[in-house]
Symmetry: C2
Subunit: 142 residues, 2 copies
DNA sequence: CTTGACCTGTGTCTTACACACAGGTCTAAA
DNA sequence: TTTAGACCTGTGTGTAAGACACAGGTCAAG
């Protein structure tokens, strides 16, 4: 399989396949003309990479996992440990987004009923300057 | 106020203040020795920028808002329109994270009870290869 | 006069690709 | 046979919002 064929097969882009190949996560063979050809084993590796990405592993994580596996060791303990880390991070970001979303919605609601005001030397936009986060958010950092 | 003082005042970093200054969002004066000094008006601009960032505006958005305001026009319509866009984007990302988080949690649960397995030529890690997303997630793209 | 804490600009690094570009290669039609 | 178009190649750059590094200037205190 060639790059574009492979990408289409898995609903990703040629650039993504090339990117993984640059990082040596994929190791296609070369045909006479210089084109990359992906044999079945590389195809299954791509499938693996895409699955792992969907589960929140970083590309760097995947490299570590593949390295481990290429030594013949079971990567499972590493995989379990990594996903705990990533899940914790995701949870943090998730909470942050939850708060952000609420702030944005509140702001939108507050602003719908406020009139426009021209800027002054000390105020760029009174909407933003006057926005008050509500109870749950806006508390200082904890 | 000097860079570090200013950063501390608002709980941000000197690098962030320098970054905004590079982009000319802030325009400090220079003292004899070449140091940047931020007069009160620049201090209030920084406050504005940080508030806007907290509301999900991009730095580029803020530049547009500031540009508009510097022409003497009310930036309010632009601000209302931008936050709608940003909120829509945030909502999308939020839903994506929600799904990701669920997948990660499900994977973690599935994996706690599975044994380790050495890799084979066609399988890097059976945990990841065998993961099945549950109902709500995993549906094809819609 | 030296130490140490601050400041300066500039440049590089991060993530996970997307996109551009100049040029090589293949297929099929004219 | 030529040629158009659709593919491929590598390499280089751009993205967001800073973080970090580095070489060197500045300043107050001892």
């Amino acid at each position: 399989m060639k790059v574009t064929e492979l990408a289409k097969e898995f609903g990703t882009t040629p650039d993504t396949v090339r990117y993984y190949t640059r990082l040596k996560l994929l190791n296609p063979t070369r045909s006479e003309n210089g084109y990359k050809y992906y044999p079945p084993i590389e195809i299954s590796k791509l499938k693996f990479i895409l699955s792992a990405r969907q589960l929140g592993f970083s590309v760097s994580d995947i490299q570590h996992i593949v390295d481990e596996a290429s030594l013949g060791k079971a990567a499972c303990p590493l995989v379990r440990s990594l996903i705990k880390e990533r899940l914790a991070e995701t949870e943090k970001q998730f909470q942050a987004m939850l708060a952000l979303r609420k702030n944005m919605k509140d702001a939108l609601a507050q602003w719908e009923v406020k009139e426009d005001k021209a800027p002054t030397s000390t105020m760029v936009c009174h909407l933003i300057d006057s926005f008050e986060p509500t109870e749950e958010n806006g508390g200082s950092h904890e």
